[in-house]
Subunit: 109 residues, 2 copies
């Protein structure tokens, strides 16, 4: 996983912050599958993810617009993963859908 | 670090994705100090951060609006940290400023 190459704003970011339950319970396999499935969706721009030793994880997926992000939420296999996430994998989570208005990287003089 | 308690949207999210260089070099101490300093700023709503074993980190700070986020970027001690970040701590990074339009958590039926 590395820093996503995204185009000039505006575009949509979906920030998914989560706390995992104990044990894998099929999580790693699902996460890998969802990464691949997301990449196949119309309007996908990229994904970034990090999980702390403490169990807090942040995944940010980038989309051309809100409609593309909303469509990904409704993909059948993703809906199944979301339900299992609520029931088994996540002790808690928060999803925030946002419009990126500015972006920049290092600018060394 | 846990999931931030944020109000109803809209509000501003600053997504900071970074790749660390090797070694601490004063990084942990600075990160802790910046967390505390951010909390003291006007318009601060919360912060979430996770760093992978692989070195990719995502920090999301939340602000009442873009002006509050922009003001935090210009705080003198933070400017010093940003410069040291570019020069020493980060191999690469990307900052994305975004307006959160929707947010939700688990809804178990």
């Amino acid at each position: 996983m590395s820093i996503a190459s995204t185009p000039e704003p505006p575009y949509t970011a979906v920030v998914f912050t989560s706390l995992r339950t104990e044990g894998d319970q099929g999580y790693a396999r699902m996460a890998e599958r969802m990464d691949l499935l997301a990449q196949e969706q119309p309007g996908y721009l990229g994904i970034e993810a990090a999980r702390d030793a403490g169990g807090l994880g942040i995944t940010v997926s980038y989309w051309v617009d809100d409609a593309a992000a909303a469509a990904w939420k409704q993909v059948a296999e993703h809906l199944v993963a979301q339900e299992r996430g609520r029931d088994v994998w996540y002790a808690d989570y928060r999803v925030r859908v946002a419009t990126v208005t500015r972006a920049y990287g290092p600018t060394r003089s």
